[in-house]
Every structure is written in structure tokens, then in C-alpha cells.
């Protein structure tokens, strides 16, 4: 039993008083002054997801390191995108740092020049910690964060390649191997579908807008791969696009649970977690609840692999986020914000992302950190699948300003397919509807 003595109390107090000096000395040893913006207050606006939870949980670490006070918020994805766009457009956003979905807002943010170019900050040794190691970020993630004019207005946070989840027990019960191609996936899913037992071979996004990414996952396997050509023209009604739509439709009609037409990732996750679906293609950041035995019936029984290959290519759809610094912030706050970016996308947090099943970090070193992956709740197969998927990943959405309108317009056609409509007709209608929107947007660029 501990007994507090006067001597012990004095030692403890002396230790506490000496702590800031010790931390400062440790920082001085790295020849970089993390306290160069001490006393500043930063406002950080993040999308609500497991990664933001990690950052907010560990925020005190940054505050102690830098002496900067952080006010962080996390807002659901769609509302967050709207909030920052509207606030930026007022010229006086309430935040200094913002998490940006590059697959949706990259061109919009780049065109309006809302965020500061971080290249001069990276190059400035007085502002950048020596162990920041910019070369550690994967080339794909850096490319995602770089605008067409060369400006780098976000620091990469993560680059998620879509993977395939599968229920090992269901596959083993029918002695079915993990499919390597989309055709094999359809055959396997069809064989595993048994509505009388409420077991379905496949579950995927059917909800308008959300469903487009599943369709582009199939399209990435074709000769064409993309939805927009080099001249920024829509190619969403071509034979390859129709093939992808038909593949999507037959899986959703014949192998997915009834009502999938209204499923977003969360409904898919629920069906898969309850053991009702054999295959699910989606982002890797949704794995955590699957491995939680209190919530999931497939904990320890979930397999992970790269998305199957198409007839011509093998890719997985890629989605990425980056942290931007508001151009409207004062120089002092920008300095503080740059320190935050270095910490938020630093090696320690990136390892936390990976170990916590929160998706694929943008830094390569995280994948090499064996201690982190060994200590994780996730099986080694998860990390292998993630790493392999990253190597073949390709953006799953076009780099255009009206991405949401693109997703809504094409997505409506895709939901009609699930209801029984003809793929070629629906894609032609959707393409005709969206073409003028894209042309107008490109003229304004």
C-alpha cells in the first residue's frame, strides 16, 4: 500500500514542475523548435470518422508538444463538405485547418484557392521538423494532394483503396474459393445466395450517389477504366461502362438482399456483420466493427482480399483525404496550422490509423511498422490486403468540380437498374443529363 510522505510529495511536485523543461529539452535535441507558435489557438474542422476520433483523442499530445491550444470539431461527411465550402466562400472560415475529401472536393478547393500552398512550408527548415520525412508519403497520396497547376494545397492524410470483405464460414460451408475476377465473384455469390435462410452472396451500395463508387470499381477492371477521357469528356455510356453497369445490376438484383437499392455503407456493414452476406466490396475503414465480438457475428471469421480483377485490368477504387490550411488564416495561425499538419499526418498518428483499422495511412512507413500491425486486433490478412490493394489502386471518381452531381445523376440510373431497367438506356440518359453540367463546369475552370 502506498503511503504519501512529505519527501515523496516534494519529489513529485518537483518532477511535475520540471516536466515542461524536460519536454523542451527533448525537443531541442531534435534541433527543431516545436514551440515556435506557442500560445496560438487553432480551430480544426474534421470529417467524422475513426481517423478524426484518433486525432482528437490524442490532441493533448500536440498541445503539450507545441503549447498551441486546439479546438477541434468533427462533422458527418456530407455536412462537413457543405460546411467548409460555404464557410470558405464567405472569406472568413471559422477554422484554420480542414480535412478535405480529395475524391470529392479537390478541384473545387484548388480552383477557388481556398487553401495555402504547403510546398514553401515543407521546404522551410525553420518550420518543418527534421523527422517529418516528406519522402515517406506514397507517391499516389502526394499526387492526390497536388493540384494540376502544381500547387500542393493539402498534406496527405490517408489513401484508402477499396477491398473485398468475405465471410469465411459461408465460403467454407460450400467449399468456394475467394474469387479472383468479377465473373468468379458473380458465380460464387450466386451459389451462396439462399433467400430461404436470408443468406445473400453479395452486399453492396445501392443508394443513389453512394452506389456510383461500386460501379466504378467494376469499370476500373475494363479497358476504359475511367469515367472521363483525357479531354474531360464524359465516357459513361460506352460498352465498357455498360458492362460495368450490367455486372453491378446482376450482382445487386440476383445476389444482394432485398432492399439493397437503399443501402449505403452502413446498411451493408450491418448485413455483413450479422452474417447475412458472403461478399462485400467497400472501403477498408469500415473493418473495425466487424472484428468486435460484442457487435459482430463475423468477428474472427472475416476474410480480406483485394477487389477482384476485371476483364482487362486489375484495380481497386482509391479515395483520399488531406489536411488543408485556410488561406484566410493569419500568418501566425498558418504557422501553428503547419505544425498541426506535421503532427496529424506524422508517423505516430499514421501508425495509429493502421493499427486501429481506420484505413490506409498515406505514409509508407506505417506499413513497415511490424510492431503496430502485430499488436492490432486485426488479422495479418487485413494488412496484407490493404497493402496489396494500395499497389493497384486508382482513383474511383473523376477529378471534376461537380462530383456530387455526377454521383447523383449516374447513381439514379444505377438504382433504376436494380429495379430492372436496361443498363445502356439508363447510362445514356444519365450521361446526357450530366454532360452539360460538366461542360459548363469545365468552361468555368
Amino acid at each position: 500500500m502506498f503511503k504519501i510522505t512529505r519527501r515523496g510529495a516534494l519529489q513529485g511536485a518537483a518532477g511535475l514542475l520540471a516536466m515542461p523543461a524536460l519536454v523542451e529539452r527533448a525537443n531541442a535535441q531534435s534541433a527543431f523548435d516545436w514551440k515556435l507558435a506557442k500560445g496560438e489557438k487553432l480551430e480544426v474542422s474534421l470529417t467524422a470518422n475513426p481517423r478524426s476520433v484518433i486525432l482528437i483523442q490524442n490532441q493533448k499530445e500536440f498541445e503539450d508538444l507545441t503549447g498551441i491550444k486546439v479546438g477541434a470539431e468533427q462533422i458527418p461527411e456530407q455536412q462537413h463538405r457543405q460546411k467548409f465550402a460555404i464557410e470558405f466562400s464567405t472569406g472568413k472560415p471559422s477554422f484554420d485547418v480542414v480535412g478535405i475529401s480529395l475524391h470529392v472536393n479537390k478541384r473545387q478547393v484548388g480552383r477557388a484557392k481556398w487553401c495555402a500552398d504547403i510546398r514553401p512550408m515543407i521546404a522551410d527548415a525553420s518550420m518543418t521538423a527534421p523527422d517529418f520525412d516528406f519522402a515517406d508519403f506514397s507517391a499516389g497520396a502526394v499526387a492526390y494532394s497536388t493540384q494540376a497547376d502544381g500547387r500542393m494545397d493539402t498534406l496527405p492524410e490517408f489513401a484508402d483503396p477499396w477491398i473485398m470483405y468475405y465471410n469465411k464460414d459461408l465460403l467454407a460451408a460450400k467449399n468456394i474459393a475467394v474469387p479472383k475476377t468479377f465473373d468468379e465473384l458473380y458465380t460464387a455469390a450466386k451459389a451462396l445466395t439462399d433467400p430461404s435462410k436470408q443468406i445473400y452472396g453479395f452486399v453492396g451500395r445501392g443508394l443513389r450517389n453512394a452506389n456510383v463508387v461500386l460501379w466504378t470499381s467494376f469499370l476500373l477492371g475494363t479497358q476504359q477504366r475511367d469515367t472521363i477521357d483525357a479531354n474531360m469528356k464524359l465516357i459513361t455510356d460506352t460498352p465498357d461502362a455498360v458492362w460495368a453497369a450490367e455486372t453491378y445490376a446482376k450482382l445487386m438484383r440476383e445476389c444482394a438482399p432485398p432492399g439493397s437499392i437503399g443501402f449505403n455503407w452502413n446498411e451493408c456493414q450491418t448485413s455483413f456483420m450479422q452474417g447475412r452476406a458472403a461478399f462485400w466490396i467497400d472501403g477498408p475503414g469500415f473493418a473495425a466493427p466487424l472484428e468486435d465480438p460484442k457487435r459482430s457475428r463475423v468477428a474472427g471469421k472475416t476474410g480480406y482480399s483485394v477487389a477482384p480483377a476485371g476483364p482487362a485490368h486489375h484495380h481497386g477504387a482509391l479515395f483520399g483525404n488531406g489536411f488543408g490550411i485556410s488561406e484566410a488564416s493569419s500568418p501566425a495561425r498558418k504557422k501553428a496550422a503547419w505544425l498541426y499538419l506535421q503532427w496529424a499526418s506524422g508517423k505516430a498518428n499514421q501508425v495509429r490509423y493502421l493499427a486501429g483499422g481506420a484505413g490506409a495511412p498515406a505514409r509508407q512507413s506505417a506499413f513497415r511498422n511490424e510492431d503496430a500491425t502485430k499488436g492490432s486486433n486485426f488479422p495479418a490478412q487485413y494488412f496484407t490486403a490493404l497493402s496489396s490493394a494500395l499497389q493497384i489502386a486508382r482513383p474511383g471518381l473523376p477529378e471534376i468540380v461537380p462530383v456530387t452531381e455526377f454521383r447523383d445523376t449516374i447513381g439514379t440510373g444505377l438504382t433504376n437498374l436494380i429495379g430492372g431497367a436496361d443498363a445502356a438506356t439508363e447510362l445514356r440518359k444519365a450521361t446526357e443529363a450530366f454532360r452539360p453540367v460538366l461542360e459548363q463546369s469545365e468552361r468555368a475552370s
Partner: protein
């Protein structure tokens, strides 16, 4: 008479200038309220009208386009469908709560054991936050894992797709509205019933009127002003319904539950077409004002 007028006129002459002085002296007292009205109501309105005549994009520039946004609106099939869906939704989301609310009020107007408890339970849905309610219903509507299909299966009824099917989505959303807002109608009508005089009923009883005749010829006419108030409130609420629909379906499957509000929200805050969205606001506001005026006119007629 003339003598009276003559004696009053000097006093009247004395009062009139004082009134003018009041107006001159104390006009500044209305300034705070005037500033609020201009800042909160008038300016946003004028600015919305201004934006509706521009091609206005968030993150882009804006150019004057005159009435192009309005012209585009009336040829935009998606918008026209959203108008029809809004009317369809509103008709059902007004009719059922009105009928059930009036019926519930008539029941709760009679004394029976545990009436107070039953009335409290009945009005509970109205107290719940719409978004929270919508999230709970979303879980209940899940075709495989939702409790509603499980309940149907207990009675041997085949499962429904609820909000996951274009054919059933709007009636299902109306079901949520009915559950949520029938208590409001009941409360308004119950208040009306409590204020009814008993004399006409006694007279009707002496004259040998049946309960149905009493209801039809006494209760309903006397209650009419209260019913019209409930009708106006419910109609405006149903037209404006957004939170429940957005949380449960986001306008889907496809666009099958996309009402004007959802269309407006997407144009403004998902596609950032602020000019076009402003034109939708102007048209939608005109519709609501038109309908509300019609109902208010009806109320006056009923009162008369």
C-alpha cells in the same frame, strides 16, 4: 347633433396635432424592430431574389442571367416531379393525421379509466426530436434486420420493403409523419372540444337527436375553426417536411422520395448552385404563401 360636433371639434383639433407629435417624436422606438425586420426578413428575401437572377456557384463566380433560372426550373423534369411528390406526400401527411387526430380527440374527450395516462402516452411521439425519430424508424425499416418485418412475419404477412422500394417509400414516410404529428392535431381539437357549450347538446337531446346527429350538426360545425387551424399548421408543416425524409431516404431510392425541399437542399448545398436553388426558394415560398392564404380564407369563411 351638430351642436355636439361643434363642441367636440375644438378638442379634436387639439388632439390631432399631439398625435402627429407622437409620430415625430417617438419614431425611433420602432427602429430596433424595424432593423430586425429588415435584417432578418427583408434583406434575406431581397438577396434571395437577387441570387435567383444569377448563375451563382459557391467557389466560383456569379453572372447575371435574368429569369433563366426560372425558365430552367419549369422545364426541369426532376423539379416538376419533386413538386408532384411534395403534393402527394402533403395530401397524405395532412389527411391521415387530421382524421386520426380528430378521432383521437373525440375519444379522449370522454372520461374512461386511465385517460390521463393514455393521453400522455399518445402525445409522446410529438415530443421526440424529428432526426432521432427518423434514425430509429430507419433501423426499424431495415428489410432483413428491422423489427417491422419481424412483426409482419409473426402474423404470417410477407415482408415489406418499406423505404427501400420506390413504390412504397412515400406511403412509408407518411406513416412516420402520421405517427409523429397526429398528437398535435389531437391536442388542438381536444382544446376546441373542451370549449364547446353544453346547451346545444341538451337542446338536441330534448329534441330527440341521435349521438351521430349531434356530432354532425353540432360538434363538427362548432369545432370547424379549430380543425381549420390544425389543418393550416399541418399543411404548412407537411409541405416543409425535410428532416425526416432526408435522414431516412435522402430522397431515394433514386429520386422517388425527392420532394421540393430535398431538391432545393441538393441544388444549394450539394451541387452549390445557389442561384438555381434561390429560384426554387422563391417558387416554393410562393406556393406555401398561396396555399396558406387559401386556408386562411377558408377559415374566415368557416368563422363567418
Amino acid at each position: 347633433m351638430s351642436g355636439n360636433t361643434a363642441t367636440l371639434s375644438p378638442a379634436g383639433a387639439a388632439i390631432a396635432p399631439r398625435r402627429r407629435n407622437y409620430a415625430r417624436k417617438y419614431w425611433m422606438f420602432i427602429v430596433p424592430a424595424g432593423v430586425v425586420v429588415v435584417g432578418v426578413i427583408l434583406f434575406p428575401w431581397l438577396f434571395t431574389l437577387f441570387m435567383s437572377t444569377h448563375d451563382w456557384k459557391i467557389g466560383g463566380g456569379h453572372t447575371f442571367v435574368g429569369l433563366d433560372n426560372y425558365r430552367k426550373l419549369f422545364t426541369d423534369e426532376r423539379f416538376l416531379w419533386s413538386v408532384l411528390r411534395t403534393l402527394y406526400f402533403t395530401a397524405m401527411a395532412v389527411f391521415f393525421p387530421m382524421v386520426l387526430g380528430v378521432a383521437a380527440a373525440l375519444i379522449f374527450n370522454h372520461k374512461f379509466p386511465l385517460r390521463g395516462l393514455a393521453r400522455t402516452l399518445f402525445i409522446l411521439p410529438m415530443m421526440a426530436t424529428p432526426v432521432a425519430v427518423a434514425l430509429v424508424w430507419t433501423m426499424m425499416f431495415h428489410p432483413q434486420l428491422g423489427v417491422l418485418n419481424w412483426l409482419l412475419s409473426q402474423f404470417g404477412i410477407p415482408p415489406s420493403m418499406w423505404v427501400y422500394d420506390a413504390r412504397t417509400v412515400i406511403p412509408t414516410l407518411v406513416l412516420v409523419e402520421v405517427w409523429h404529428w397526429t398528437p398535435l392535431v389531437m391536442l388542438i381539437v381536444l382544446g376546441g372540444l373542451a370549449s364547446l357549450p353544453i346547451d346545444p347538446y341538451e337542446a338536441a337531446k330534448i329534441d330527440g337527436a341521435s349521438p351521430l346527429q349531434s356530432f354532425w350538426h353540432i360538434t363538427l360545425p362548432l369545432l370547424a375553426p379549430f380543425i381549420v387551424v390544425a389543418l393550416i399548421i399541418r399543411t404548412i408543416d407537411a409541405l416543409k417536411a425535410f428532416d425526416t425524409i432526408y435522414v431516412i431516404t435522402q430522397g431515394g431510392p433514386g429520386t422517388s422520395s425527392e420532394t421540393i425541399n430535398i431538391f432545393l437542399y441538393l441544388q444549394g448545398f450539394a451541387y452549390y448552385n445557389m442561384g438555381y436553388a434561390s429560384a426554387v426558394v422563391v417558387v416554393f415560398f410562393s406556393m406555401i404563401v398561396g396555399l396558406a392564404s387559401l386556408l386562411l380564407w377558408t377559415r374566415k369563411r368557416v368563422k363567418a
